[in-house]
Amino acid sequence: MKYTYYPGCSVGATANLYQDSINVVAPKVGVELEELQDWNCCGATAYMSVKELMSFAISARNLALAEPFHRDVVTPCSACYLVLNKTNHYFAEYPELRKKLGKALEAGGLSYSGNIRVRHLLDVFVNDVGPERLSELATKKLAGLRVAPYYGCQIVRPEEGFDDPDEPESMDRLIEAIGATCVEYPMKAKCCGASLMGTQEKLALKLCRELLANAVRADAHCIVTLCPLCQMNLDVYQPKVNGLFRTKFNIPVIYFTQLIGLSLGIPPRELGLHRLAVKMTKQMKDVLKGA
């Protein structure tokens, strides 16, 4: 299974631990990711609301670059996934915009016909690799590990995606397949505050507090996510949440690829787990050891 890989900016910087794990896990499960050459930032969701046309244009450039390879574009980032899909959708639906984008691409010596499918890495793991295959590959079943599956808001909205927008369950199936237990986590598709952390910090911290509190309340050992921004907000800002609300959260927030990596027997360091701001707790390590 070969895909055109669009990493997005986050995994090269704040989410380098995500990339670490993708680098080692993807080949092991038969997912071949060939990075798109000369890709550019998708503009993320913020740019979309500031300069819409420009945002569509820079996204369309990535799709145009990918088109000659006739493969699905796969991204590990929820914002990239959302923006690239939105560009595709608008490109197909609005002839006026399509004309404008066509002109913009032409100026750069490119063209796009709208035939590239953009997918999230989770979609590939769930629907192309599949829980059954992962279960076969998992040499070290994570029995006893209680996981809060956190999807965030962008991967499931708008609702035409690969999972239910209110109660997604695709990642749950992966987690169960490698032997871990999903706790009841009603916040699984709620917002973490995303880039509000930069502009309305208190509000974003409040949203993060709810997410953390509910994972702790459900007695989870860790939160597992798939979005670089969600992971950063919940992980890096966890001490700040504690400071503001006088809470004592100490719950690791890891990527689903890292969790799968653990079940494949890959050492935590190779999975980038040492880069977590909130380190793996003793409790979690004990469970992993016992598993």
Binding site: D166, P186, E210, N214
Partner: protein
């Protein structure tokens, strides 16, 4: 050709004249072969318009007529009648539709004028080949079938029966009464539902003119207006209604459980006995229980037979099987009612996942004095709620589920608010998008509620969750909503949530509609003949509709429509005869090879085989002129009268001649 055709071009006010150059069309028609005269008028369907045609026929200027106006569905009958009045056979008339298929759909005047010309040329060309057809009349069987025994069916059946006409009322549940039998109070007058419904149910059960068939389903409908043959399946109830006297001994002793006895208050909600042998509610008509074979210990495990042993009248018959009954009726009234939307699909509202989130129907049953809580409003654990949120428009006015407004929810929500205030000390929050209080006394009821200390919040509820963000929300159901009057997002913690689920057409309506040959709209409800002027008729003669099978309705509107439907049926019965379309198929015996291909194709079973002559024969009374046999005949031996080959070819030639 000796035919003298008169062409009449209608302006339809500006409906046609605004987009079609009438003068040009008139000049064009004057040049067509066989056309004796062409006239135009503002409204051909009006009295002066009809008089123009009449004058020309009576003056012996013309003997065939083409009217270029609207759709035949609208006025074909009008102009056929004009012809008939003046002695011209109505089948020597053709209508050219230059409104719906021309002026209304074209933007450019040139285009629509050209199309109008082509349509008129086609009609004229066809008219030359038309043949006079004899008038066909059939008698109307005075018996009527009513499908559905809710308040709509009950009203329609009683109206007809009181007028001295026979009625067969078919209801699939063990008792008649429908949804209304589950309600305690009705809005806006708050009168007791059972008190006004039960006497009518009893009347239906006892009426000599009503044959009541409960626990029965429509199986097949054949025939046509005035002469339907209907087959009904009587489902096995395992209790002989002739012997049973409804004493109740059987369900008192029955060890089987249809409704769980161990669950919490909400899981145990029920109106009638919770046992396997049961009546849906105590005022059931007929007062005869049924056995739910899915939970009955005898049917499931082969032993028990307690009900049989306690029944003094030996009415329990485990070996009962479904039986079929066939009878003839002249008209059919469909009154199948509605089902409520299943809110499980809106996961955000938590129904099915969170305790104390209820549907409106659950809440009705809980409020019903005859129900398992004796009308008390209780939480799942049996305690009294301190606050209740009522959520409007669940599955209604929502493009994801149903676009339509369910019409009754605002009012029953207000009724709930009132009942909660009356029965408990709970605080009531009512979340609405718009308050639609359209009926008599409805706005006044809303006004009354505004003074009853109910908190009305205008906004569509986003979510019902059990995840608290502060101490006040601990252990509560939290309703998230944007209060659009104030412009803030609110989180309202409550103990209980009532989802005002919308109305959808009842389960199996599509099958009933197919059997009765009526159409269902994209909203799932039956399409009436005309949204304004034919609300109780359908496109199929002899099939009428009443109540929520046509669209969501409250009780007053349902009863009004039911009475309207029965009065339409009565006028059919009183007339005694009805004219039906003369355009049937005809077999040329000389050409028929007796291959019998047509025999099995006929959807109306109108073709039989004459063994002596070795040819197929069409029963004209049954033939609807659909043309299936005509197309299938390999020997070209069947002719569709009024749609004969030469007529169709002439029409096509005319169309292409422009």
């Amino acid at each position: 050709m000796s035919e003298r055709i008169g062409v009449y071009v209608c302006h339809c006010g500006t409906n046609i004249a605004g987009k079609v150059n009438i003068d040009e069309v008139v000049r064009f028609a004057e040049g067509l072969a066989g056309v004796e005269l062409v006239r135009d008028y503002k409204f051909m369907c009006s009295d002066p318009g009809q008089a123009m045609i009449q004058k020309d026929i009576e003056g012996d200027l013309i003997d065939r007529v083409v009217v270029a106006s609207c759709s035949p569905l609208m006025h074909e009958n009008t102009f056929r009648k004009v012809c008939e009045r003046c002695g011209v056979n109505p089948y020597l008339f053709t209508m050219a539709n230059i409104r719906e298929q021309c002026s209304w759909v074209h933007v450019d005047m040139g285009d629509s004028t050209a199309k109008a010309k082509a349509l008129i040329a086609a009609a004229v060309s066809r008219t030359k080949f038309l043949e006079p057809l004899p008038k066909r009349e059939v008698s109307i069987n005075p018996r009527t079938l009513v499908i559905g025994g809710g308040i709509a069916g009950i009203q329609a059946a009683l109206d007809l029966a009181e007028a001295g006409k026979e009625v067969v009322l078919v209801e699939r549940e063990p008792s008649i009464g429908g949804h209304m039998a589950k309600f305690d109070k009705t809005f806006p007058t708050l009168d007791c539902s059972a008190c006004i419904l039960t006497p009518r149910m009893v009347q239906v059960g006892q009426h000599p003119n009503i044959k009541l068939m409960t626990y029965a389903e429509l199986d097949e409908v054949n025939g046509y207006v005035g002469n339907f043959t209907v087959r009904v399946r009587n489902k096995a109830r395992y209790v002989d209604p002739e012997l049973c006297n409804g004493c109740g001994m059987c369900w008192e002793k029955c060890p089987g459980t249809r409704v769980p006895r161990k669950g919490n208050v909400h899981e145990k909600l029920s109106l009638g006995p919770t046992t396997s042998i049961y009546m849906p509610f105590m005022q059931a008509v007929p007062a005869v229980p049924v056995i739910d074979s899915g939970t009955c210990l005898y049917f499931q495990k082969g032993k028990c037979r307690v009900c049989e042993s306690v029944c003094e009248r030996t009415a329990i018959k485990y070996d009962m099987e479904d039986t079929f009954e066939e009878f003839e009726v002249g008209n059919i009234i469909i009154a199948t009612g509605f089902r409520t939307f299943d809110p499980r699909v809106i996961k955000r509202y938590g129904y099915g996942a969170l305790p104390n989130v209820m549907t409106s129907l659950d809440f009705e049953i809980m409020n019903c004095a005859a129900g398992s809580t004796s009308g008390a409003i209780l939480m799942a654990d049996g305690s009294e709620p301190k606050s209740i949120g009522i959520v409007h428009c669940v599955g209604s006015r929502d493009k994801h589920y149903n676009e339509h407004c369910s019409r009754v929810c605002c009012m029953y929500a207000l009724k709930y608010a009132h009942l909660i205030k009356e029965k408990t000390n709970a605080e009531v929050f009512d979340f609405y998008i718009d308050m639609r209080c359209f009926g008599k006394g409805y706005e006044e009821f809303y006004d009354r509620l505004l003074g009853e200390d109910v908190r009305f919040v205008r906004g569509k509820v986003a979510e019902v969750s059990n995840v608290p963000v502060n101490v006040v929300e601990e252990g509560k159901l939290v309703i998230s909503v944007e209060d659009t009057l104030v412009g803030v997002v609110r989180r309202v913690p409550v103990d209980m949530v009532v989802l005002c689920t919308g109305l959808e057409s009842s389960v199996g309506l599509a099958e009933v509609a197919t059997m009765c040959n009526v159409s269902v709209g994209k909203d799932g409800f039956i399409i009436e003949k005309h949204p304004k002027l034919g609300p109780v008729s359908t496109a199929t003669d002899g099939v009428f509709i009443a109540g929520a099978c046509q669209s969501p309705k409250d009780i007053p509107d349902t009863v009004a429509q039911a009475s309207a439907a029965s009065s339409a049926v009565l006028s059919m019965i009183t007339r005694g005869m009805i004219e039906i379309e003369s355009a049937t198929a005809e077999i040329n015996e000389k050409k028929c090879s007796g291959c019998r291909i047509c025999n099995n194709l006929c959807p109306y079973l109108a073709i039989t085989f004459d063994r002596e002559k070795g040819v197929s024969v069409i029963n004209e009374a049954l033939c609807k002129g659909c043309g299936t046999c005509v197309a299938a005949c390999p020997s070209n031996a069947i002719k569709a009268k009024h749609f004969a080959n030469e007529q169709i070819f002439a029409e096509i030639e005319g169309l292409l001649s422009v």
